[in-house]
């Protein structure tokens, strides 16, 4: 580890090489008592007798013209207060591209698209009344494959793409086509280099859209006050993005919108798009003065709300005989669904990191986010990277096979490092990229990798598969976070930050940072766990594994500010220089004080210090701090040149499976991850993030994915037919961490919230390909898929 760790500020204790007393230790989570007693309150847990309930009516058709809507019977039904349809709100909404109506007006573009809302005294009444709404549709032809959508542009789903209002830095739609965004990457000259390659491989990879499956479904409570103020409580990862969306959608001034976010029951990206907030506000505006609750059913989350993006991709990878990668040509046709939402940014994220953590000088990549008649898509844990990783890693595995080079050694040979450039030509430094080589070396030991990927024992094949992972965030150049640190009379500290506690434990980590800087017991640091956009300083979004970097730097600065204030007040009292004051154990004292009576509890300095005679010196100790992401630049629209994120966390991952040749079934025995996390701040939380991500990744890869009917409607929107991992489905998980510090981040930390997941689909696909001798390039990797692949090969059963 480097010795000159100095992040953002000059605070010595913050350096990784100094002994820390709270950082690096597994202190209990701050939300433990709330969560093991059932006391923790999530959005749906707030209700009262006066609250009204909203129910959504969604389209049964994947693509249809709306001929007529008759709401009279629904409106007349018992308990009904309002029935809202698209005509009530001609406004468009959506971020970064306003390409949909709040409720469909003349056309629906996916089965599940909201068409009406009923507000009633009880949920049962609202739901019953939705069935009385009569809507006549004329079904239209649909398009399901993103690649076909690209080549045919028929049906053209958004003929009026041109006037849609969008953020041109985030989305690049092409009018007259079904392309919601196009992201080009041009590095070097691949065209000229194919001739130099001794071996070239090509693969096609595909998978359908999928579901985040946060256990809490999306819930919003909205109320419009008589003065027009709007109060929203929502299970969101992005509460601070809601006021501006309300302005864009309804023309409501952002200052009039207040958003509360209590505990959130998992997000995984699915709660980063404010998708149902406009619907809840549309309903609340019709019954102003009353709270309206809109809670999605599981089926609605799976059919109506944005899910995990689907993909069809093609990759061509060339190398020299000795295994040096030379050139890559990659095309992604992402299945973004009927509306752009965040799927277009996922597309950019995948494209900008398309090569994975490998040194490739010549890269041609096109990322297309395609409109189809499937549900829209948004961020999903990994944000384009599990997708990008599966594509490139399948090509690498195939190349290793062709070149007869040990797949792990081939990856080591090409591992990216400081001095190399990424596909967007960002030059890496020892700080901005973790240690890929080191991760592979460690993985080799942990996976007992001896160069052969398979061992056959009768009808059973034991196979291994590996993948390397990298990820940077796709944060805007001004992504910021603010924090407030208050010193209380009883010498405890209170921390305020706009990070949402979605389960990742960031607020516990922020408390650790404050405890470390105050040299105080973590039990004396309180964090406010809910978020209120009116009173908490803004935090960009709780996404992209960026919360500990952004909020961490802000909290560190706020704590240092509070400490500075305490020292100043103490210096008047103790009659010594502020610089000579120490703050530790809840006391302020002079550095050279031998006299322990000269220790002042910091609580006695919280509002200035009052002497016995009543006169007071100093002022209230309230520290504030903020941090805005650094070094990030926009990507050039024609070459993609630019710096997409502040640093890349890297990892090497592997799985070992047991495959039964006669039944095509398999079991994952164990899964291994080596993650360069910069610094382990909280060992158990870090482990929980990685292992949880691995479990989600294996579940996604092995058994998850929407099954559509002929028109494009999702046919499996329930957990009994969408079989995610349950207790006992999990293999053994082994995790190790390396610590190559990011010099910009507190204690050198790197984001790790998504990385456990990223390489799992690729590692599993490689293991299965090795086990079966076929190219397993699709998800979900079910026994049925393996059987089909075998059958298509011609020697199946």
């Amino acid at each position: 580890m480097t010795e000159n760790c100095s992040f953002a500020t000059d605070h010595m204790e913050a350096c990784g090489h100094r002994a820390t007393h709270v950082i690096g230790h597994s202190v209990g989570r701050k939300d433990t008592q709330d969560k093991v007693t059932g006391h923790a309150k999530y959005t749906d847990d707030f209700s009262d007798n006066t609250m009204l309930h909203a129910a959504l009516l969604t389209s049964p058709h994947a693509h249809a013209r709306i001929l007529s809507q008759d709401t009279a019977r629904a409106f007349a039904a018992e308990g009904v207060r309002a029935v809202i349809t698209g005509k009530d709100y001609p406004n468009k909404t959506g971020s970064p591209l306003a390409d949909r109506h709040v409720l469909a007006i003349d056309r629906v573009r996916y089965a599940g698209e909201p068409v009406a809302i009923v507000v009633a005294d009880s949920l049962a009444q609202a739901e019953a009344a939705t069935k009385l709404i009569d809507i006549q549709y004329q079904p239209l032809p649909t398009i399901q494959s993103p690649k076909l959508s690209y080549y045919s542009n028929t049906p053209l789903l958004h003929p009026n793409l041109n006037p849609y209002v969008g953020d041109s830095a985030e989305v690049n739609p092409i009018p007259g086509t079904n392309i919601a965004t196009h992201v080009p990457i041009r590095k070097g000259n691949p065209q000229a280099m194919w001739a130099v390659c001794d071996e070239i491989v090509e693969c096609e990879v595909s998978f359908p859209q999928a579901h985040h499956a946060a256990m809490e479904t999306h819930v919003v409570i909205a109320e419009v006050a008589p003065n027009g103020d709007i109060d929203i409580t929502t299970s969101s990862q992005s509460p601070y993005s809601i006021p501006s969306l309300m302005q864009a959608t309804f023309g409501i001034h952002p200052a009039k919108v207040r958003v509360h976010t209590p505990y959130v029951g998992g997000g995984f990206g699915g709660k980063s798009s404010p998708y149902i907030e406009p619907l809840a506000v549309a309903a609340a505006l019709k019954v102003s003065g009353r709270k309206v609750k809109l809670r999605c059913t599981r089926e609605q989350v799976m059919t109506c709300l944005p899910g995990h993006i689907g993909l069809e991709a093609k990759v061509r990878l060339g190398a020299t005989r000795d295994g040096q990668f030379v050139a890559a040509h990659i095309t992604y046709w992402f299945d973004g669904g009927a509306y752009a939402d965040r799927g277009v940014i996922v597309t950019r994220a995948a494209t900008q990191d398309c090569t994975g953590p490998y040194r490739i000088h010549h890269v041609h990549c096109d990322g297309f986010c395609m409109y189809t008649n499937h549900p829209p898509t948004t961020a999903y844990r990994g944000f384009g990277h599990p997708e990008q990783t599966l594509v490139i890693e399948r090509a690498i595995e195939k190349l290793a096979d062709k070149l007869s080079i040990n797949p792990l050694e081939l990856r080591r040979l090409n591992a990216i490092g400081p001095g190399d450039t990424t596909p967007t030509q960002a030059r890496l430094t020892r700080s901005s990229i973790g240690d890929v080589q080191g991760c592979l070396v460690r993985l080799k030991q942990m996976l007992d990798w001896n160069g052969t990927a398979t061992v056959k024992e009768g009808k059973t094949v034991i196979a291994k598969g590996i993948a390397c992972v990298w990820k940077t965030s796709s944060t805007p150049q001004d992504a910021s976070s603010g924090a407030i640190v208050r010193v209380n009379d009883d010498s405890t500290i209170t921390v305020l930050s706009g990070v949402v506690e979605i389960g990742q434990g960031t607020k516990t980590v922020l408390a650790q940072m404050v405890a470390e800087l105050f040299r105080i017991d973590i039990r004396h640091v309180n964090v406010v766990l809910e978020v209120d956009t009116k009173t908490h300083p803004e935090h960009w979004k709780t996404v992209a594994s960026r919360s500990t970097l952004l909020a961490g730097n802000a909290v560190v600065r706020a704590a240092q500010d509070a400490i500075r204030q305490l020292k100043k007040t103490a210096s008047f009292v103790l009659q010594c220089e502020a610089d000579d004051i120490h703050i530790a154990g809840g006391y302020a004292y002079c550095a050279d004080a031998h006299d322990t009576r000269a220790k002042i509890p910091i609580g006695a300095l919280a509002k200035g210090f009052t002497f016995q005679d009543g006169h007071t010196v100093g002022e209230m100790a309230i520290g504030h701090g903020s941090y805005t992401i650094e070094h990030v630049t926009k990507l050039d629209p024609t070459t993609g040149k630019g710096v997409p994120g502040p640093e890349w966390t890297v990892a090497a991952q592997g799985v070992e499976i047991e495959y039964q040749k006669d039944t095509y079934s398999y079991r994952v025995r164990r899964a291994v991850s080596v993650v360069d996390c910069g610094k382990v701040l909280h060992p158990d939380l870090a482990l929980g993030q990685i292992k949880g991500g691995m479990n989600m990744g294996l579940s996604l890869a092995s058994r998850e994915g929407y099954v559509y009917d002929d028109s494009g409607a999702v046919t499996n929107p329930q957990f009994r037919v969408y079989p995610i991992h349950r207790y006992g489905d999990h293999p053994t998980y082994d995790v190790a961490f390396l610590e190559t510090p990011d010099l910009e981040a507190p204690w050198g930390l790197r984001g790790i919230g998504e990385h456990g997941l990223i390489g799992m689909p690729a590692a599993l696909a490689n293991a299965l390909s090795n086990a079966t001798g076929m190219e397993v390039n699709q998800m979900p990797m079910t026994p049925e898929l393996l059987w089909r692949l075998q059958t298509n090969k011609g020697d199946g059963p």
């Binding site: 256990m215 959130v264 995984f268 949880g692």
Partner: protein
């Protein structure tokens, strides 16, 4: 809409409530009793987030009518205090977002009421009715083992608990 007055025995108290016949136990607990520990995750019997204990057995309260619960002893997470399984969940980091946690704890608690020396396959049989999307399940498995060993350590030899060990 016809409503009915019923008395439910919840967490040691009798609660007299006016309900619709169609109301699920989950809705009545959450909306009428203010017991929001049991959560809706699917309202279809698929996820276990709504699990409560009825007569010492775990039930998914989203697919049980409140009216069916009359005359039975209902325990929700709010009625469980300082149990070995709660302590173990805390110690083993067996939760992250916490949304599945009350359901998992109630299911596991019912299992441990039943037997504190069971093997992995049996544990799986009990717990596979619940879904956790955040953890890797290994943390929950460790919590179960830890709770089992505390309970066994506190018991005289060869005896099994027959009441909530709180």
């Amino acid at each position: 809409m016809t409503k009915h007055e019923v008395t439910l025995h919840i967490n040691g108290e009798d609660r007299t409530l006016v309900i619709r016949h169609a109301d699920t136990l989950l809705d009545v607990l959450r909306l009428q009793c203010g017991l929001t520990g049991a959560k809706p995750g699917c309202e279809n019997g698929d996820c276990g987030a709504c699990t409560v204990i009825v007569n010492q057995l775990p039930y998914k309260s989203c697919i049980m009518l409140a009216i069916e619960a009359t005359g039975h002893t209902i325990m929700t997470i709010e009625g469980l205090k300082h149990s070995p399984i709660q302590r173990a969940f805390a110690k083993c980091y067996a939760f992250q977002c916490g949304y599945c946690t009350p359901g998992f704890i109630m299911n596991a608690h019912a299992m441990l009421l039943h037997d504190t020396s069971i093997d992995e396959p049996t544990i799986q049989e009990w717990l596979e009715s619940n879904i956790c999307r955040c953890t890797s399940y290994e943390e929950i498995a460790s919590a179960i083992r830890m709770a089992m060993s505390t309970m066994n350590a506190n018991l005289p030899d060869n005896s099994k608990p027959n009441s909530p060990s709180t």
